[in-house]
């Protein structure tokens, strides 16, 4: 997936590792491998979905991309430029984030105007107060908020509206890339659809690329061009959304897809659910070889010895499994 052509990808990640030091007794620190060597690339205007169970490191990937955590190792390129501590401040004008919880990600003491205006202040994107206000009202309209509510506080809004405020804040600096970390999972179904449509509209209008992190596979399939599946800090499969859903190769993807409860009683009755045994192993104490082998129904002795890597199965479909 590496590519020397700099302009082709808006974001390129090479062998990103993010370890967190965990105290394990006196004078002993062991690394928690939240993200363990992942690579992917996103084209301008593209949506890459990132799915996986809780604790698999998908949120950490999003945060590391924006240097909200300093990556342990690996390289992140934005539009061909290597992201470092020095240029991250100016690059955050191009890369933004929408957070999961619309209740805790907005400052309760700030008015909506100030919340959306803060990125404008930080990057000094206006000449005078009137321009700042115009920009804010514009943004509110873009995300479907009533601009008369600019002087209200976050608690006066419903969950869906708050998520719109978070999105307006991310859009304020006119970014080319937004990390959306479970942006709809805290919302009711009827409101979810409104916000998903808005993400799609904004992409069509502004050409912004998304890394869409979520655990709801139906939503991810709907919104994404390509999907990456993570398990315990590694990408186990990456393919176009339709390809992944029709032809999952990795046993984890297979069971993940079979476990989605389908809103359709007839297909629910016919379906053969592959129920995984047990829980996700602790990332502090990973199994040897393939991390998934403890729950995999195809696991062989070889899986414990060999660490699989992503291999090309054609059509941009990459899988990391030695048996399939």
């Amino acid at each position: 997936m590496s590519n020397q052509n700099k302009s082709e990808y808006i974001v390129e990640v090479k062998d990103l590792k993010q370890y967190f030091p965990i105290k394990a007794g006196f004078n002993k620190i062991i690394p928690l491998k939240a993200v363990d060597g992942i690579s992917f690339a996103i084209k301008p205007g593209e949506t890459l979905g990132l799915v996986g169970e809780s604790g698999c490191g998908k949120t950490t990937v999003g945060r590391s991309l924006l240097h909200l955590y300093k990556p342990t190792s690996g390289e992140i390129y934005f539009d061909g430029e290597l992201v470092t501590d020095k240029n991250i401040h100016s690059l955050r004008k191009e890369m933004q984030m929408v957070f999961q919880d619309p209740y805790s990600s907005l400052n309760p003491r700030m008015t909506i105007e100030d919340i959306i205006g803060e990125p404008l202040d930080v990057h000094k994107l206006y000449a005078n107060k009137a321009e700042r206000r115009d920009k804010i009202l514009d943004l509110m309209e873009t995300v479907g908020l009533n601009s008369e509510h600019a002087t209200r506080y976050a608690h006066e809004f419903s969950g869906g509206q708050r998520q719109r405020i978070g999105i307006a804040r991310a859009l304020a600096v006119d970014p080319k890339f937004i990390v959306c970390d479970e942006p709809v999972s805290a919302l009711d179904v009827s409101i979810q659809a409104q916000v998903i449509n808005m993400f799609e509209d904004l992409q069509a209008k502004l050409g912004v690329a998304y890394l869409f992190i979520a655990h709801d596979l139906l939503v991810v399939h709907h919104i994404s061009d390509r999907i990456a599946v993570m398990y315990l800090g590694k990408i186990v499969e990456i393919a176009s959304a339709d390809e992944l859903n029709e032809n999952p190769i990795h046993p984890y993807t297979e069971s993940l897809l079979s476990a989605i409860p389908m809103p359709d009683p007839n297909s629910a009755k016919q379906r053969n659910r592959i129920v995984l045994e047990g829980d996700v192993p602790s990332p502090m104490n990973l199994p040897s070889g393939c991390a998934f082998r403890t729950r995999c129904r195809y696991a062989t002795e070889q899986c414990a010895k060999e660490c699989p890597t992503l291999t090309d199965r054609g059509n941009g479909h990459f899988v990391s499994c030695i048996n399939k």
């Binding site: 009711d188 009827s190 476990a259 359709d264 007839n266 129920v275």
Partner: protein, 335 residues
């Protein structure tokens, strides 16, 4: 005696808050057959959990059942006193909650929490209760049950905790299990395990299940009958096929259109406009009228009555009344 283990008739539950009376449940009726699964689906604030809590009478202090009856085996349990209810909860009817992280007591071991229910409701000795706890943990698929008895909730994962909750709920073999969003806090793969477990236990123990959730996928997977709630009242009820393939209420239709499905994956979603209603400020007519695209004049002023669509299928929507009236072509039906 009727076939139904649980009958709820015109249940009304209100919370008396400083800002006024909140009618969280406003006239809910349904019947639950022995061994069957009933799904209650709705958005947050639709009153689905309060309906479940009203059956168990575990409402917050400000909440009160204002009207209606809950018949268990033909007996109205809303008239029962605290002592009678204590014998009902856990023995006849158990509940598992959404959040397995907060619904277990962190200061007691798993073993003492499960045996508590057994000792309270049966005349088993402590030793027998412990055996029962081990038996239950084995039943719900917890490995090394003897060791788990001495562990505390924080030592277990989310899926394991939910299994312990289920073991606790089923320890006294209740007739009814109420599951209030049992898998919402869990991952898909763990959710599949828990749903499979509930279905399996239901078959083995023959209990009836009330499944409260907002997830239409879970509902389609699990339920024989479904009631759809909005703003404290039932807008539609029927079998799973009725609700998913022949929805007759605009809210149900909207709900089904607003979720992505495999059949129309790349089509644009059709959201329900507007925001969920404020229960303190209920409209005069149909609760859904402000968000309904097909709302008519009558919807704004009159609450729609429940109308049978078929023998198993009921909906409360004026459009059905209109359609039926038109079908009868101006007959003597009074509208």
């Amino acid at each position: 005696m009727s076939n139904y283990i649980l009958e709820v008739n015109n249940l009304q539950t209100s919370f008396f808050t400083d800002s006024g009376e909140v009618k969280a449940v406003n006239g809910v009726s349904f019947n639950l057959e022995r061994g069957k699964t009933l799904g209650i689906v709705g958005e947050s604030g639709s009153g689905k959990s309060v309906t479940a809590y009203s059956i168990m009478q575990i409402l917050a202090d400000t909440g009160k059942i204002v009207d209606g009856e809950v018949l268990y085996n033909g007996e109205d349990i809303t008239k029962w006193n605290n002592k009678q209810m204590a014998g009902f909860r856990g023995k006849k009817c158990s509940i598992i909650f959404q959040d397995p992280m907060t619904s277990l007591n962190p200061t007691f071991s798993i073993g003492s929490q499960i045996t508590e229910a057994v000792l309270l409701h049966t005349d088993r000795t402590k030793k027998q209760a412990k055996e029962r706890a081990i038996e239950m943990l084995t039943l719900v698929g917890v490995n090394e049950p003897e060791k788990r008895l001495k562990q505390y909730p924080h030592e277990l994962s989310g899926g394991m905790r939910q299994r312990v909750m289920i073991a606790m709920a089923l320890a006294c073999e209740p007739d009814i299990l109420i599951a209030d969003e049992p898998t919402t806090a869990l991952d898909v793969t763990i959710q599949a395990q828990i749903l499979e477990l509930i279905q399996d236990l239901q078959k083995r123990l023959g209990m009836a299940v009330v499944m409260v959730t907002h997830d239409l996928g879970v509902i389609a997977d699990m339920c024989d009958e479904i009631i759809v709630m909005y703003g404290g009242s039932v807008c539609e009820r029927g079998t799973a096929d009725d609700i998913f393939y022949k929805p007759h209420h605009e809210y149900t239709k909207g709900l089904l259109r607003s979720i992505p499905s495999t059949a129309r994956m790349k089509e644009r979603l059709v959201p329900i406009g507007g925001t969920p209603i404020n229960l303190l400020n209920m409209p005069k007519g149909c609760a859904f009228c402000a968000r309904c695209d097909s709302a008519m004049k009558v919807c704004l002023t009159e609450v729609p009555q429940e109308l049978p669509i078929s023998e198993t299928h009921f909906a409360s929507c004026w459009l059905n009344v209109k359609a039926q009236y038109e079908a009868e072509n101006g007959g003597s039906q009074d509208e």
